[in-house]
């Protein structure tokens, strides 16, 4: 078979994020079933990107699930950008679901500070149960870092992320795992494991240029698609997350 046809034939189904700029960067969207790390320091837009990904998915008719670890859902929804395309019906109809992970811990009887291997596997199974039950095609775990803090042991973190990623992928569920990192750190996650296991890594950050602070986004890895690896500037607006290329003429030497 000629190489071009082979390429076209092996093109993976895409999960269109609905964030126009990001879909353009990803050449059409995230390959369906990928587990993607959305990594960045505070205030860089990780949660807004994830929420838009889910709301757009629900609008496309895909079951979408947000697992909140650190912030209760009601507080999260109070603070989220009032998107023009938000529709309360999506939540009422169950197309868009929000689950607080601490409540899930309670239901599962997990009350210790550190999760054992069995408990972390129990948690994975419970998440997969929710995915099956709600016909979920898009999932966000905000944040994977908080869960990893509770698991503590690197081997068990690896096991949790691998099992979760593989199980979600097998269900055709595209997932975004939020990773919180300190600004000016090397690597894309707190434990250094998450980026190796994930199919994709999207990094958000702050770029200081002559005293101006710009929010940036860069896709550094995405299995299953060709993509831009350039840095973009983003804005969080009521029409959604907007992206434009970072102007190269203004790059700071050795800058972020």
């Amino acid at each position: 078979m000629p190489s071009k046809e082979r390429e076209a034939g092996s093109e993976r189904e895409r999960c269109v994020t609905g964030i126009e700029g990001l879909d353009h960067i990803l050449n059409g969207g995230i390959p369906r079933g990928n587990t993607v790390l959305v990594s960045g320091s505070v205030g860089t837009g990780k949660t807004s990107i994830c929420i838009e990904f889910l709301v757009r998915g629900a609008l496309y008719g895909e079951g979408s699930l947000y697992l909140s670890v650190t912030e209760p859902t009601d507080k999260l929804l109070r603070n989220v950008i009032p998107f023009d395309f938000w529709d309360d019906k999506l939540v009422k109809q169950g197309k868009l679901q929000f689950v607080d992970l601490p409540r899930m811990y309670e239901k599962l009887g997990i009350d210790k500070d550190e999760l054992s291997l069995e408990e972390s596997r129990l948690l994975t199974d419970a998440i997969i149960g929710l995915v099956e039950e709600g016909h979920i095609r898009r999932l966000v775990l905000d944040s994977a870092t908080s869960v990893a803090y509770r698991i503590k042991d690197p081997e068990r973190i690896r096991d949790f992320l691998l099992r979760l990623g593989q199980s979600l992928s097998a269900k055709g569920c595209t997932s975004l795992l939020v990773a919180e990192i300190a600004s000016h750190t090397d690597g894309y996650s707190r434990f250094g494991l998450e980026e190796a296991i994930a199919d994709g890594v999207i990094v958000t950050g702050n770029l200081e240029r002559r005293g101006d602070l710009l929010r940036t986004l860069q896709v550094v890895k995405m299995r299953g698609t060709q993509h831009s690896r350039a840095k973009y500037v983003l804005d969080l607006t009521t029409t959604g997350v907007l992206l434009v290329p970072l102007l190269k003429g203004g790059s700071v030497s050795g800058g972020a």
Partner: protein, 187 residues
């Protein structure tokens, strides 16, 4: 012929989605704005996205109000009030950009306003290349104009770039020739 009529005639002669550099003198400034907003855009039923880096949006709004020009379809991206630490009350049709050096944010705000009014044809005014050149070097400014103008062209929007003749340099003239379909002088 008045300045506003001259500007209107020049814009009317352009094909859709054109980018034009309008070279004008300081005393023609407000008449040129009137020609664009009141005559050209109103007749063509265009949304106007006015990017000001020269004077605060409120000053232009005040002038347009005096001239009794309807502002329903006029939106401002104000890149100068914030840097001036202005305490003026914000008009609902004005969006602030912190500084004229945040060129990417100017593009993002223009994009936001075009999306907000999706389905309507638009005209984007960049006022002015000379003010932007005070705050930015030529390299980044050329890159900004190149991307912005091409994006607007792809969306079918008109672009009008103001250039004040008194403050033009060879570099600015070359830049305008590079990014615009036409460079024209107001009579």
């Amino acid at each position: 012929m008045s300045v506003s009529s001259d500007v209107n005639d020049k814009l009317q002669a352009l094909p859709e989605a054109s980018a034009i550099a309008l070279r004008l003198r300081a005393e023609q400034y407000f008449d040129a704005i009137q020609g664009i907003v009141d005559l050209f855009a109103a007749k063509k039923d265009l949304d106007v996205v006015y990017v000001t880096t020269t004077v605060p949006a409120q000053s232009i709004l005040n002038a347009l109000e005096v001239l009794e020009i309807p502002l329903d379809h006029v939106w401002f991206v104000d890149c100068i009030s914030q840097i001036m630490m202005s305490t003026e009350k914000r008009h609902p049709h004005v969006i602030q950009v912190e500084s004229p050096t945040m060129l990417e944010n100017i593009m993002l705000k223009v994009e936001f306003l075009l999306r907000k009014n999706e389905g309507r044809n638009a005209l984007v005014v960049l006022d002015s290349i000379n003010s932007l050149a005070i705050h930015n070097n030529t390299k980044i400014l050329s890159e900004f104009l190149h991307i912005l103008v091409n994006n607007l062209r792809a969306r079918g929007a008109y672009t009008v770039i103001f250039s004040m003749q008194e403050y033009e340099s060879d570099e600015i003239r070359n830049m305008l020739v590079l990014v615009s379909d036409e460079t024209t002088e107001v009579a």
